[in-house]
Point group: C2
Chain length 200, copies 2
């Protein structure tokens, strides 16, 4: 019984630090958030932070990777649905909903996007997630085209990229204009996607 540490406590504290960091990074951005601020908010000493993370950047990366919504499981379900267009809409909503759920999420995502093309490590992390999204969009989109529910003149890659951009627009707008109505945002998004896919 000579266990020195309680792994559960360790994990809990680590998580606590991540939660605090997420708020600060979202509010202030990565660069102007200092480790002192983080430690103060988490209620730990500056030195103690380094027992949980190798440095500030590792904290940031950990924040970004912590909640990977399992798109894979959902995607498997959706690709077998009878109504491809509705499946696509469901997927789009799944991608956009986190933006409206917690106000710090869109800010964090934007921060990550900007850091991504400045820091290769962050970029690699984001690219992985984005790839999954794009692949899912392409698959569902081509199914919708085959079923005659979307304009066959659309280029699959291009249309998927654009729909992804539309989702990003929701994140952007939610982050920058927090007073804007979340439900209305999602309604606009679905209306837009549907209209975009319809034949011209």
């Amino acid at each position: 019984m000579a266990r020195t540490v309680d792994p559960a406590k360790y994990a809990a504290k680590r998580q606590h630090i991540l939660d605090c960091a997420a708020v600060l990074f979202a509010q202030q951005g990565y660069e102007r958030t200092t480790t002192s601020q983080l430690c103060a908010r988490a209620g730990i000493s500056p030195g103690n932070l380094y027992h949980y993370f190798a440095g500030k950047k590792q904290v940031f990366l950990a924040v970004l990777t912590q909640d990977e919504h399992d798109t894979h499981a959902l995607l498997d379900r959706l690709t077998q649905e009878a109504a491809p267009l509705e499946a696509l809409i469901s997927f789009v909503l799944h991608l956009a909903r986190p933006a409206t759920a917690d106000p710090i999420v869109p800010k964090l995502v934007l921060e990550a996007m900007l850091q991504a093309h400045r820091d290769p490590e962050v970029g690699a992390e984001l690219a992985r997630v984005d790839d999954d999204e794009m692949r899912g969009l392409r698959v569902l989109l081509s199914r919708a085209v085959q079923a005659g529910e979307a304009d066959p003149a659309l280029d699959a890659d291009d249309a998927a990229a654009w729909i992804s951009a539309l989702v990003s627009a929701v994140y952007l707008q939610t982050a920058l204009a927090p007073d804007f109505d979340a439900a209305q945002q999602l309604a606009n998004l679905t209306r837009t996607v549907r209209a975009f896919l319809r034949e011209a």
Copy 2:
């Protein structure tokens, strides 16, 4: 004839500094661009920078405010056109086009957006520009509705905000995926706006 300085030379050098700063801020962001880097690139000494700007932040603000495309003149023309919907589309293109013209523009705009909700001074500056855009969109949109060219069920404020978000999406996508085709982007945007405004 005892003029000590040539005002034209002064202005030219100031502009040169701004050009250099714009590139650095776009590539690296505001925070991680140092005054030393800026001076090195501009070919001036650290001290000399402060003869042209009061500080780093003032350089950033000057970069943001330097080219205010005169939306007002265009707007006056467009509000008198016979075809309101086409006028609206023209306006949207006018707003989006800078994103595709110079690759540093969209990055700079995004950087400004993020800084805006962290620094009130930047925020005030951006809000002024955004206000003009939104006002223009609302006016043109309501004219289109009156002419029966847009869905009358749309809420003017909400729809204008959403169209503005769509424009932002072009900036976002251009900044983050520079390999993406500019013309295609604008085509997607107009198609999307048109489709969004059509009756459901």
